[in-house]
Structure formats: structure tokens, C-alpha cells
């Protein structure tokens, strides 16, 4: 990552680390939610941005991670994060492996629709059968702990834990994108035929990326379930798969920073248009403001929010030489 970009990311994480000191408990909860969605967006960025696989069923893995967290926790004693978190991630990754193994036989828009089909199947299993506790969802009575020094029931420690997870996932994906595996994924996105001609069996690579992405989405689901202490079938609906896809496109595809910026921008835009203070009674029609700003971002920012500084720089300094590997 070039110098200016890593400074920007370091600055973001520093601000996030300091935020709880200045904000009240609602602000901590709110930013925790955005960070959970940032992890969820990063999982999709690995698929869409890095490998070029547009998955429209990511909410299924998110939901499985969340439901696993609640179904595996007992009502009498708090379960330990040490085993609960890996199990939830493994459950989501397991379903991702199954879905990936089958859906990677298709290409392009057909792949998009097959992933949607598998996600809708998971949604209806949870929505219609007693397994998922029906449409009213289930409660998580005791939130998981880690020994004596992490208790996820307290807002600030959950905030810290989520920030740590976000940092770890971001760092892991940044390193991964630079590794041989990451470069192979980038090659598959740009020209899969050339990759096969040089000797890369692309199917196992895509399947590994799909499973890894499912696992990270499961982590985000785990955190969301622990934050709310309540899971509901709507967490696996296609609306959430669509929303997270919108986040990474809004932020800018092909950049990890894009997923981060997109998650925050999408949430803050909603808050802006919903706030009574600014829009008064018109706040009821917040969809209009959000929709218009999304359309404006497509018109004005072809490469998403992450491309904004470069666009401004190129407009001021004349066309800059595009090159190098985007990260």
C-alpha cells in the first residue's frame, strides 16, 4: 500500500480507538454496529473486489454465524468466546464451502443468482422451521465471555473486541492481497483464461476465497448477534446481501479502504437523512435523500468514494499517470 493510503488507514483506526472516550453509550453501540458491517463488507470485498466473484447471498453466512452464536449458547452459563467464535466462523465457512463448491460451476450473472438461491434457502429454513425459532427470532440470554477479562455484555469491551476483530481482518486481508494467493485472485479477476494458460487451477483458488469470505462474514454475524442479543430471520434476507453489496460499491471496489469507507458512509448517510433535527417532519421520507445521494455518487464518483481524492487531484493537477497495483 502506498504511503498516503496507509497513513489514512492508520488515522482511521486511531480515531476509532479514541472514539469511546468522547462518546456516550449510544455512540459506542452505533459505531460498534458500523464496525460489524465494515467486517461484513470486507468479507464481500475479498470476493467482489479482489476475485471478481459477485456473491448476492453473503447474508446467509452472516446469519449462520449469528444463529450459531445464539443456538450454541446456553441460558445458564455464559459460553466462552474461545470456542464459540471459531465454531460460528467454521459453521459459516462450512456452508460457504458447500455453496461455493456448487455455485462456482456457473459464471457471471448466473453465479450471482445461484448464490442468491442458496441464501434464500437458508433464509426459508430459518424462517419456516422450528430450528430457527420461527419468525420472531431468538434471544441470547447470556453474552459470551473470555476468561475473566473480556465480558462482551459491557458496551465498551464489545466495542474494543469488535475494533480488534476489524483491525485483524483488515490487516489479514491487506497482507493476503499482497501474498501469492492474493495476486492469484487478482489475476483471476482480470483474466482467468490467462491464469489457466499459465498453470493456475482457478477453481480451488475461487473456492478457497469463497470459503474464507464466508468465514469472515460468519465472524461479523457472531459479533452482530452478541451486540443485539437477538437474532431474527431478516438478518439472512436478500435485503442485507444487497445492502452490503451497495456499501462496497459506494466505497469503491478493489480497495480494502473502499469497504471501510462504504460501510461508514452508508450508515452515516442514513442517520443524516433520518435525523429530525435537520429535516424535521420530512425525516419520514429518508429513503428519498438516501436514494438521491446514492445516484449522485454513481454519477460523480465512477470509482466510488475511495477514488474521490484522486479525482480531485487529477482535476486540479491534470491527468495523473494511472499504474501500479491498486490496493
Amino acid at each position: 500500500m502506498t504511503h498516503s493510503r496507509s497513513i489514512f488507514v492508520a488515522l482511521c483506526f486511531a480515531l476509532l480507538a479514541l472514539f469511546p472516550l468522547v462518546s456516550g453509550s449510544y455512540g459506542v453501540d452505533f459505531v460498534t454496529k458500523i464496525m460489524v458491517f465494515a467486517i461484513f463488507a470486507l468479507s464481500l470485498e475479498l470476493l467482489v473486489g479482489a476475485t471478481g466473484l459477485i456473491c448476492f447471498g453473503q447474508a446467509a453466512f452472516f446469519g449462520i454465524g449469528a444463529y450459531a452464536a445464539v443456538l450454541l449458547s446456553s441460558d445458564t452459563d455464559a459460553s466462552s468466546i474461545a470456542w464459540l467464535l471459531p465454531t460460528c466462523v467454521a459453521a459459516a465457512a462450512g456452508y460457504a464451502l458447500l455453496v461455493g463448491a456448487l455455485s462456482l460451476r456457473t459464471k457471471g450473472v448466473y453465479f450471482i443468482m445461484v448464490t442468491l438461491a442458496f441464501a434464500q434457502m437458508a433464509y426459508y429454513v430459518v424462517h419456516d422451521t422450528p430450528l430457527g425459532g420461527g419468525t420472531d427470532g431468538i434471544y441470547l440470554t447470556l453474552k459470551p465471555v473470555l476468561g475473566s477479562w473480556i465480558d462482551l455484555d459491557k458496551g465498551n469491551s464489545l466495542y474494543g473486541f469488535t475494533l480488534a476483530c476489524l483491525l485483524l481482518v483488515f490487516g489479514f486481508l491487506a497482507v493476503l492481497n499482497g501474498s501469492r494467493f492474493g495476486r492469484a485472485l487478482a489475476g483471476i479477476r482480470v483474466n482467468e483464461q490467462r491464469m489457466r494458460a499459465t498453470g493456475f487451477s482457478t477453481y480451488p483458488y475461487k473456492l478457497a476465497a469463497f470459503t474464507l469470505s464466508g468465514g469472515i462474514a460468519g465472524l461479523a454475524g457472531f459479533l452482530f448477534a452478541v451486540k443485539d442479543g437477538f437474532v431474527n430471520p431478516e438478518m439472512m434476507s436478500w435485503h442485507l446481501s444487497g445492502a452490503v453489496l451497495i456499501m462496497i460499491i459506494l466505497g469503491g471496489l478493489g480497495h480494502l479502504r473502499g469497504a471501510l469507507i462504504g460501510a461508514f458512509a452508508f450508515a452515516l448517510l442514513q442517520e443524516l437523512f433520518k435525523s429530525e433535527a435537520i429535516f424535521g417532519s420530512f425525516a419520514k421520507h429518508w429513503h428519498l435523500g438516501l436514494g438521491l445521494s446514492i445516484i449522485a455518487s454513481v454519477v460523480l464518483l465512477p470509482r466510488g468514494l475511495v477514488g474521490l481524492p484522486e479525482q480531485i487531484r487529477s482535476r486540479l493537477l491534470g491527468a495523473k499517470q494511472p499504474g501500479g497495483t491498486g490496493l
Binding site: 453501540d29 424462517h127 429530525e276
Partner: protein, 389 residues
């Protein structure tokens, strides 16, 4: 020069002191958090509840229980996955004193959980999920509407008394549908009837033809159903279009025809439904309420407006008992439990689990109105299964 300086600071200090005193004396405004659906399929229900609530406020001269009200509104979009954050916005950021909401059962469940933990007073103006005054019951959670079990049970009694033997049920496969049908089945089978077939389809699917044909094939004596909103409009029209209306009488919970009659037109004529409100109750309270509502909002009130109005009444009763001090939770609850709420639907009181003990009326659709026919069951109390309060 110094003295002038001294004098001005003295006056400033006094003024500051006075204002805070005045401030304390009349009491700060009571913060009421309205968490209702302002967008999506239930938007019109959200508006009706808010109108009903505010009507009571204006009737009391802008104060409830001696306190002025400051509203903080949040759109819950009937989306359970966003419910916890929306409630936290009201409870933690705006630290509201009272929570009013909502329509969708899934969202109400999330609200109940947060209210139970934070202790904030929650009055549910619609969501009928049995658990809200069942497994999730709490001293600070009240409901001004109904439990899904109630209308179902009442209609079960009515149909059993009418001597109907074989009934088929049809509804969406989600909480409201399942619980209503369960209530119906309990009463109907106790009255000697048998449910020959239970049909359901995924929510919000509205393709009924296949199941209507299945009903025709099983030839039950009657059909009991639960649908609401757009689904209710379509089901009643499809049922009539399929010619079943003449041969197999259709009974339902009140939501099948409440707020949807002009959309359903003639297809809804003659349908029997059971609900805790009806048109043409002509009790003095109902007449004055309908007049005031029509004058204030230029449209006829429906059951949702009544439930919003009664939520405000419950709040008023509780606040009067604790003369505006919301922190006295126990007295608030005791007062409300003991009170008799003079509602347009008819006076009712709250059960131990804080769900209305109310008459469920039998109504028939005549001339675009759910005309009162009689009382389906008198002072029906929800069994509040799983409530340990």
C-alpha cells in the same frame, strides 16, 4: 465601576437561579419515544397509532398526567434486524422516559428485550405477539392492543356455538398467523368442532389460488383465516372470485377487514370477523372519540387509532398516580393494573401480565363498515403462558 460590575453579576446569578427553579417546579417535559413504522407496508398503521395518541394529548390540553410531552420519533421500517439499534437510539441517546411501539411483532420482541433490561416503560400499541405479555412480560411493559390469541379464541367460541363442525384454517406462516390460529383451534375444539385442515404459506407470498382449490377439495363447513394489509385485500377478493364465498362461509380475525374495506369493495360484504373494536358501537365514549378524530384528521378512525389513543390513556393513568415522576415504576404499574381504562372500544382493565382484558366483538361487513353484531366473548383474558411476574 467595581460596584456596577458586582451588581450585574448578582442579577445574572439570581436570574440563573430563578430559571432553574422555575424549570424544576413545572418539571421538565416528559420525553416520549415513538418507535413506529413510517415507511414500508405498515406505514398507514403507524400514522393511525400516532394520530390516536396525539388526539388524547390535545384532549388533555397538551399535558398527560400533568407533564408536557416532547416526542422523539424513530422509523422502525418493520425491520427486526434494525430494531435493537433503533430502540437504543431512543433509550440511550435520547434517554426517553417512555417508549411507545410498535406494529411488527419481530420488532416489538426486540423492544421488549431492551425495555426489560433498561427498565424504561414500554407501551405496545399494536404488535400482538403472545410473548410480549407472556414469556417476555415485565412490570414496566404494557399493551393497549390485544394478544394474537384473543381474536382467534373468540371466533373459535362463536363458530363452535353456531354448530359448525369441520373448519379449515389458512394464514401466513409467521408469528401473528400461527398464534391466532392456535387460539382459534383451542376454543373451537373445546366447543366440539374439529379443524380438518391447517393451510399456510410463506410470508409475504400472496398467491392463494392453489390453497383455495385445496379448500374447495376438502369441502369444510367454514374457513377461518388471518391476513392483514395488502394480503387481506387480495385474499378476500380471490376467495370471492373463486366462488367459495357463496358455498363456504369465511370467518376471520378482525384484521381481515379493518382498514381494507374500500379496497375490497363488495367482495367483503357479509364477512364475519372478531376484534376488540367495531363500527357502530355507539357508546358515548366511542361517539365522542370518532367525532374528535374525524374533526382532527379528516378521516374515520380504525382499531389502530383506538389502540394509540388507549396507549396514551394508560400513560396518563400511570403518570397521575406517580404525579409525573416516572422513576417510581412500582406505583406506576400498580396504578395501571388497578385502573379501568375508559376506551372507545369499551371499558377494559389490564391483566396481571399487562394485556387488556376486553370484550371481543363479533362484527359483520355491511356497507363498507364492520357493523357490530354482538359480543363474541366477554372480558377475555389472555392466558399469558410463560409469564413469571
Amino acid at each position: 465601576m467595581k460596584s456596577i460590575l458586582f451588581r450585574t453579576t448578582l442579577i445574572a446569578a439570581a436570574a440563573a437561579l430563578l430559571s432553574t427553579a422555575a424549570f424544576a417546579q413545572t418539571g421538565a417535559k416528559l420525553k416520549v419515544g415513538l418507535m413506529l413504522p413510517y415507511t414500508g407496508t405498515y406505514a398507514s398503521l403507524g400514522n393511525a397509532i400516532e394520530n390516536g395518541f396525539k388526539l388524547y394529548l390535545t384532549e388533555q390540553g397538551g399535558k398527560i398526567g400533568g407533564r408536557e410531552i416532547e416526542f422523539v420519533k424513530v422509523d422502525d421500517e418493520s425491520d427486526p434486524s434494525k430494531a435493537t439499534d433503533n430502540v437504543n437510539k431512543l433509550v440511550k441517546r435520547d434517554n426517553v422516559d417512555v417508549l411507545i411501539g410498535t406494529v411488527h411483532s419481530g420488532v416489538a420482541m426486540a423492544m421488549a428485550k431492551v425495555a426489560k433490561e433498561s427498565g424504561t416503560i414500554l407501551i405496545v400499541p399494536n404488535a400482538g405477539a403472545d410473548a410480549v405479555t407472556g414469556a417476555m412480560c415485565a412490570p414496566n411493559i404494557f399493551r393497549s392492543s390485544f394478544s394474537n390469541w384473543q381474536p382467534g379464541y373468540a371466533m373459535g367460541e362463536v363458530m363452535a356455538k353456531k354448530g359448525i363442525k369441520k373448519v379449515a384454517t389458512i394464514t401466513w406462516k409467521y408469528a401473528a398467523g400461527d398464534e391466532t390460529v392456535r387460539g382459534f383451534k383451542e376454543a373451537f375444539e373445546k366447543g366440539g368442532g374439529t379443524v380438518v385442515k391447517e393451510l399456510n404459506l410463506p410470508f409475504p407470498n400472496v398467491e392463494f389460488q392453489a390453497l383455495l382449490t385445496d379448500i374447495a377439495a376438502t369441502k369444510p363447513d367454514a374457513v377461518f383465516t388471518f391476513f392483514a394489509g395488502g394480503g387481506a385485500v387480495k385474499f378476500v377478493k380471490d376467495y370471492a372470485a373463486a366462488g367459495l364465498k357463496k358455498s363456504i362461509p369465511l370467518y376471520g380475525s378482525g384484521f381481515l377487514t379493518d382498514g381494507t374495506l374500500d379496497a375490497q369493495g363488495a367482495d367483503a360484504d357479509g364477512l364475519f370477523t372478531a376484534l376488540h373494536y367495531a363500527d357502530g358501537l355507539d357508546t358515548p365514549k366511542d361517539k365522542s372519540f370518532r367525532l374528535a378524530y374525524a374533526k382532527a384528521y379528516k378521516l374515520q378512525p380504525d382499531v389502530y387509532a383506538v389502540q394509540g389513543y388507549d396507549a396514551a390513556q394508560i400513560l396518563g393513568i400511570g403518570l397521575k398516580a406517580v404525579n409525573g415522576d416516572v422513576s417510581k415504576k412500582a406505583e406506576f404499574a400498580k396504578a395501571v393494573e388497578a385502573a379501568k381504562i375508559d376506551s372507545p372500544r369499551g371499558a377494559f382493565s389490564l391483566s396481571k401480565a399487562h394485556n387488556p382484558v376486553q370484550d371481543i366483538y363479533l362484527r359483520q361487513v355491511t356497507g363498507k363498515e364492520n357493523k357490530l353484531v354482538g359480543v363474541a366473548s366477554k372480558a377475555l383474558t389472555d392466558p399469558a403462558r410463560g409469564c413469571k411476574m
